[in-house]
């Protein structure tokens, strides 16, 4: 960030034509922090105003620079208020810099790596710096955003360490991807996932597993800052991928003149904390079953350099053992970054390489297949403990094989959990390589040209070895082997010309460029299957597959190329008014060749009221902003002319590929937003509030059609999904004295989603709903219905009599039939998975060297279903309420009233395909999300270490309010399906840990 400031200020200074020639002398001094515990600040930029001459302070905050007495020195450092000092007569200038509370004058990295001053932005952007990210370390850095940035809804995957994260900015709008785009140092990152679960039952091919995301493959310590551009206007220049907002990741770079080594170690222990209410015996069993998980994240970085070349190097590793026995993660990340200037600074070259390797054993699955939690929750063998079955196999002398041991016959969904963990074990092997190069030519004071290229490769490997005597639904008699590899590549290149020019009171900054992106994916899948089988038991190799059509081998290759040209300009008038214009045209290979071009513009306006009007002392800053944007989007590769598929040993796939009904058109999103930002009382208090409205139309999606047509599904461009809401943040510094300071940030947002239209009448499609989460054979589903909202959840609801008694007829509960308008295929709308309102309250309190940070994170509204509880009540009597002998009054259709015990009633209501309407809970929750108590050791100048900080950290510590038995912030899928339901997901954990940070 500091580097970026340097570049920016260099640009500004270039615009000033005037050149002062005077007698130069050597100035030196020390830069320290303000306050009682003034410490030297290394790395501060010291620039002679109006020139390119600049240095940085060293370890001890000292600098030396040549300047004349009439020069002005600009001191700047990220997070601190910049200071300008006139040199004057003195040769010694010491400066103490103060923390900038809201960094309002700082620059923000926006689309394409273009830096803009925050006040000129015409749309909402909010960021979070390295210090905030590292306070309470998360294995996936994106988890740190929850509650700290308004309007960002974070749902962690229930798949433990290394799991992906679902990030929703301003609501869900697409039937395809709803995740934001991640951009690393200005270049879009390829963020493939190895797949996300959609099935309520579970995936027969290895269980409902999280394919992970690449964010988990980035070392959080390499991140300088995360900036969230929430709307499409912020991202119009990224093209289609930025439709759902953008998260910009700026990584650390080496700095001239300062050599620094940083070492950080985090160790934390976690325990399974939030799951259904079990009876004492089952609770003991489950406590025996779950481990105490331990995660350690260690990273070391070294950075430094000269005026002309800077280096940053880091290595980090993460070792985690999960609460699920045998689940562990190992990850190593290396990041190298080099920056060099040539030809007197005319050419700046920047190169970086990021390499990560990650191995995860037994990544937890949800759903019913291959899930050890089914057996663990439902174990109810009288007189025995679950731990008696830790010895999970015994010799079957008929076959001379070790066979599975369990207290009852195993079933498709239930096996000995220890058998699953040890004999149905899986391994994920993921690797990421991100290499990029950036050349920047400074052609003149006002014009520069840069070209960039990135090679971004993600490899996702999955391997599952299923031993003989595993349940027959999951594996044939000799076992099963599943092997999957995905090689995903993105090659990106662009050229951008940047113009910065000032005409009297008007500043113009413009960018014109072109880019090309080529994405390819190669998938190899081999699975001996549930019917194919292995020749020899328990030998896990492809050559051991039986040669029959029951085994599956498949290869998939997909490729897509998008070429683009774009331009953007920001015109400032007197630093009071800013107009922002962008335009982009894309050509995509995935669209029909005659209709593969689409154009989209955006326009924005900002007025800095505090510059235009004199608002007095109390108002430090005020601005209003508004913008309008369109974004076009192409369709996935292989949509327009899909060819038929060949099945291994099975000839032609009898199912035709899904074909578009008519000509495929690009999708379109239009959005507008406006907001205002105010600061008062010398920045002790301020707020930012905004309104947005997005409408996503003409989405390409697949709709089912009558099978009598000869197709099952066809693709259409249709639909209109609207999201609108408010988002805002408030900051306040209630106490600020020499030794004691308390800063507090409140972030809040609401989103209202409406499905305005599903099918366009002109498309002749007679559907008024679209499946988001298919029910399969279970009783949970999510549909998009005209007039409904994205995330509406559907369940099987009990019919009740006039007094509210459940109706039970012929030994079975009767399905409610009184709400046909809200019922689809026997399932009735019971709620919505998304919160109406989110609120985060982040606090930082420092007293001398002690700091206390805590984050309270709240989500209000929304519902969630505990299918876990339904399943446990359907398969065993292990819940607390089934055990405490309550009774429930029921009636039959004729109106006769009788009584059932809780055990009988929930035995009827439960089950994966039972009356899930009985298991609906409010998803509202307020939790103590993060807590950190730190101590900053005051070190003498002679100490070897420059800084030592230790803190005690806690994560997801407690819920102030929670209705659901599970943690509603955890999701089974970071895709669109399976929201608002827990189906035997790994329970959310509570963790405590220690963080030590050494700088020397």
């Amino acid at each position: 960030m500091k580097k970026t400031i340097l570049i920016f200020s260099t640009f500004l200074s270039l615009l000033i034509i005037q050149q002062v020639k005077a007698q130069e002398k050597t100035i030196s001094g020390t830069v320290t922090s303000k306050g009682a515990n003034a410490t030297p600040i290394p790395g501060v930029n010291v620039v002679v105003k109006g020139t390119t001459r600049g240095v940085q302070t060293d370890f001890d905050g000292r600098y030396t620079i040549e300047a004349s007495s009439s020069d002005v020195l600009d001191f700047s450092y990220v997070g601190l208020i910049p200071i300008s000092m006139t040199v004057g007569a003195s040769n010694m200038i010491d400066v103490s810099m103060e923390e900038n509370l809201e960094q309002l004058d700082d620059v923000v990295v926006t689309a394409l790596g273009i830096q803009k001053s925050r006040k000129s932005l015409t749309y909402a952007a909010q960021d979070i710096n390295a210090a905030e990210l590292s306070k309470v370390r998360q294995t996936n850095p994106v988890n740190s955003l929850s509650g700290k940035i308004s309007g960002v809804v974070i749902n962690r995957s229930s798949s433990g360490a290394g799991g992906s994260v679902k990030v929703t900015l301003r609501g869900n709008s697409s039937l395809g991807n709803n995740q934001p785009l991640y951009v690393v140092d200005g270049i879009p990152l390829s963020n493939p996932t190895g797949g996300q679960p959609i099935d309520t039952f579970g995936d027969l091919n290895g269980g409902n597993k999280d394919g992970g995301d690449v964010l988990a493959l980035i070392n959080p310590d390499d991140i300088e800052s995360l900036t969230v551009l929430k709307g499409a206007s912020a991202s119009a220049l990224y093209g289609s991928a930025g439709l759902n907002g953008v998260i910009l990741i700026t990584t650390k770079k080496g700095r001239a003149g300062s050599f620094k080594v940083n070492f950080s170690s985090n160790v934390f222990a976690e325990s399974a904390a939030y799951y259904i209410d079990l009876n004492d015996e089952a609770e003991n069993n489950i406590e025996d079953f779950f481990n105490s998980g331990v995660t350690s994240i260690t990273s070391v970085s070294a950075s430094g350099g000269t005026e002309n070349a800077q280096t940053y190097f880091s290595y980090s590793n993460t070792f985690a053992s999960g609460v699920l026995p045998t689940n562990d993660l190992k990850q190593h990340t290396i990041n190298i970054r080099e920056t060099a200037k040539f030809f007197d600074g005319v050419l700046t070259a920047n190169a970086s390489v990021l390499a990560t390797t990650q191995t995860i054993d037994n990544r937890p699955v949800s759903g019913l297949y291959f899930n050890p939690l089914v057996g663990a929750y439902n174990f109810d063998s009288p007189g025995e403990r679950l731990s008696d079955y830790e010895n999970f196999e015994e010799l079957d002398s008929d076959r001379n094989i070790q066979s599975q041991r369990w207290f009852r016959a195993t079933s498709d969904i239930e096996q000995n959990p220890y058998w699953i963990l040890n004999r149905n074990a899986s391994e994920d092997t993921n690797r990421k390589l991100l290499a990029s190069m950036n050349l920047k030519f400074k052609i003149s004071d006002w014009l520069s040209l840069q070209t960039r290229g990135t090679y971004d490769q993600t490899f996702l490997g999955y391997d599952k070895e299923v031993f003989a005597t595993t349940e027959a639904t999951l594996a044939p008699i000799n076992g099963r082997y599943i092997f999957n590899e995905q090689d995903i590549r993105q090659i990106y290149g662009d050229v951008i010309a940047t113009i910065n020019k000032q005409f009297n009171n008007i500043t113009v900054s413009a960018n014109i460029g072109a880019s090309t992106t080529r994405n390819s994916i190669e998938i190899l899948n081999a699975d001996s299957g549930t019917n194919g089988g292995l020749q020899f038991a328990n030998v896990f190799s492809i050559q051991n597959f039986n040669a029959n059509p029951g085994v599956s081998f498949s290869q998939t290759s997909l490729e897509k190329k998008v070429n683009s040209v774009f331009a953007s300009t920001t015109i400032g008038f007197n630093d009071q008014l800013f107009v922002d214009l962008t335009a982009r045209n894309d050509w995509s290979s995935s669209l029909p060749s005659g209709n593969n071009s689409y154009f989209y513009p955006s326009v924005g306006l900002t007025g800095v009221l505090s510059e235009i009007f004199d608002m007095g002392d109390k108002i430090s800053f005020a601005k209003i902003r508004g913008s309008y944007a369109e974004v076009g989007n192409d369709v996935p590769a292989n949509t327009v002319f899909p060819e038929r598929q060949i099945l291994f040993g099975g000839g032609l796939n009898p199912l035709d590929p899904v074909r578009p009904l008519g000509e495929v058109r690009p999708e379109q999103q239009t959005s507008y937003e406006f907001g205002t930002e105010w600061r008062f009382f010398d920045n002790r208090f301020g707020f930012d509030i905004g309104y947005y409205h997005t409408s996503t139309i003409d989405q390409y999606f697949q709709v089912p059609v009558s099978t009598g047509t000869g197709s099952v599904t066809v693709g259409v461009n249709s639909g209109d999904i609207i999201n609108q809401g408010f988002e805002g943040s408030v900051f306040i510094v209630p106490i600020q004295t020499e030794n004691f300071k308390w800063t507090s940030n409140i972030n809040f947002a609401s989103n209202d989603n409406e499905v305005k239209e599903i099918s366009n009448p002109s498309d002749d499609v007679q559907i008024d709903n679209q499946v988001v989460s298919p029910p399969g054979v279970n009783t949970f589903a999510s549909y998009l219905v005209e007039g409904g909202s994205y995330g509406d959840i559907y369940a099987q609801v009990v019919k009740r009599d006039a007094s509210g008694r459940p109706v039970v007829e012929g030994g079975a509960i009767v399905i409610n039939d009184e709400n046909p308008d809200n019922t689809i295929a026997g399932l009735e709308k019971v709620g919505n998975a998304n919160p109406d309102f989110t609120l985060g309250w982040n606090n930082s309190i420092t007293y001398k060297q002690i700091s206390l940070d805590f984050l309270i994170d709240g989500k209000f509204g929304g519902e969630t279903i505990s299918m876990t509880e339904a399943i446990v009540e359907g398969l065993s009597n292990n819940t607390q309420r089934e055990t405490t002998n309550g009774t429930i009054e029921v009636a039959n259709l004729a109106g006769d009233v009788s009584t059932l015990t809780a055990q009988e009633y929930y035995g009827l209501a439960g089950g994966r395909n039972g009356f899930t309407g009985e298991y609906v809970y409010s998803a509202t929750n307020v939790r103590l999300a993060e807590l950190a108590i730190g101590y900053n050791f005051g070190l003498s100048d002679s100490s070897f270490f420059r800084n030592i900080k230790a803190s005690l950290i806690g994560n997801n510590l407690l819920f102030f309010y929670k209705d659901a038995p599970h943690d509603p912030n955890v999701t089974l899928s970071t895709g669109n399906a399976l929201q608002g339901v827990d189906i035997l997901g790994l329970p959310s954990t509570r963790s405590w840990g220690l963080n030590i940070n050494l700088t020397f």
Binding site: F343, L347, R408, A409, D412, E414, F441, I443, L449, T451, A472, T473, P476, D494, V495, S515, N531, N548, P549, L558, N563, V565, W587, S589, A637, N638, F641, P642, E643, R644, Q645, I646, G650, G651, L652, P654, V703, P704, V705, S706, T707, G708, T709, G710, V712, D764, Q766, P775, E809, G810, G811, A812, A825, G826, G874, L875, Q903, L908, N913, G914
Partner: protein, 530 residues
Amino acid sequence: MKNISNIFLSGIVVFSMVLSSCTDDLEGIDGNPRNITQEQLEVDFQNVGSLYKPMFENIYQYTPPWSYQLQQNLNADVFSGYMTNPRPFVAGANNTTYNLVSGWNNFIWSVPYSNVMNNARTIENETKDEFPELFAVSQILKVTAMHRVSDVFGPIVYTKFGESATTSEYDSQEEVYTAFFNDLEEAIQILSDNIDSPRFTAFDLSYGGNYENWIKYANSLRLRLAIRISKVDPAKAKTEGEKSLSHSNGVIETNADSFFVNGTLDHPIKTINNSWGDIRMNASMESILVGYEDPRIDSYFNASEVNEGEFKGIRNGLPLLPGYDDELAQKADYITFSLLADEVLTPSVQLMTAAEVFFLKAEAALRGWSGTGTAQSNYEQGISTSFQQYSLSGSTDYFSNTTLTPKDYLDPVNPANNIAALSDITIAWDEGASNEEKLERIITQKWIAMFPEGQEAWSEYRRTGYPKIFPVVSNQSGGAIDTDIQIRRIPFVDSELQTNPDGVADAVTKLGGADTPGTRLWWDVAGGNF
């Protein structure tokens, strides 16, 4: 400075290169080269040939077995009195207790449409003019698959299949049956005209390319469909039936000519039965086979574990019974009842046997159709052909027995399910008996012989009321189905209700009654059979 202008120039060059690439030909980048193009498919005529295997293997779906379980095993195989599920799925609230699970029943519809109708249409488009014999076989397979679908739902999409892009129009069952007869007639004619063409041999999973056998099968299928409509439209039935009976190639008369699909995968019930323990002998099967001391019982079932050495079936439609905490506990008790024997679960799926054809002829004789021979001789030949099918001797003793009758059923784990036999019909032919009694005898024996093909058995049970299979223990239809009359059909599927609401509304009109499981199909006429 020269350096700088060089850099500047090269920058401009790169810039314009990128710009020009925008207008590059993007074509050819889309698509998955691992798939097969139409051009590649036409080599070796695979654009047609490769379509037959899925048709053969999805009339009665081979794989995945869970899909077959929903296509037929948890409906017709149980409703026919052949088999029962030991596990009371959905806490006992499922198809078998008349609490119909729409998510399951979609498969009865979608499997044949996606795998058979589709391919038949492509074959028709690509071969009808050039290689009509290939088209003819496809038509026979199409009728084989779709009469089963119509026999479940009533009106179906048949003659107007594929005519519109998103919705479709149903035919009434009468229209569909007329179309079946026309399609079979056309197919038989084409095959007769091209009897020596070898073109189908490579793709034939039943008769090795022998069209004479295909004609025999088509005639037998036409006879089956004619008998099916014999109550509702006796004249049409007689006309169509007699066409088959008088045809020069005749009908299936030997086990060697029976219609089996010789698939390449395990029989789907084998997995459901042996691996999953999800299907067992039905109490009605036990009552009749044990009562008749029928030697075929050893070919069809294994002795149970629950009463060691004895055959034990399970009553239809068990709810989650009192005393069981959950489905699995109840299953643990019933899984020890009789399994289906491996002998009937070979990779060859039985769709029409010679024995069935004899029983059809026996009934045709009762109805006075010409070209049949006597009812008694066909009846007895049906039994002995069925015995031969399982290499059993003693058929004469068996069909001469005048005393054995179905026996009462006893449930060894839950005596509340005990039930007395519903019929005292004996085996031996009684020429002096009423036509109704004769028909009960014929259909009871046909029912035994057709095992394990539950779809046809359920259809014939509905048409004739025979054999008298036990009613469900728990009827959760809320009055839509009469327990004794039993289930008559499956309502139109959810996928159609959602995607084709107008088409379904029209279909309900054509059904001639409410879209409930109690409504009788067109050929299902209440009252006596004569």
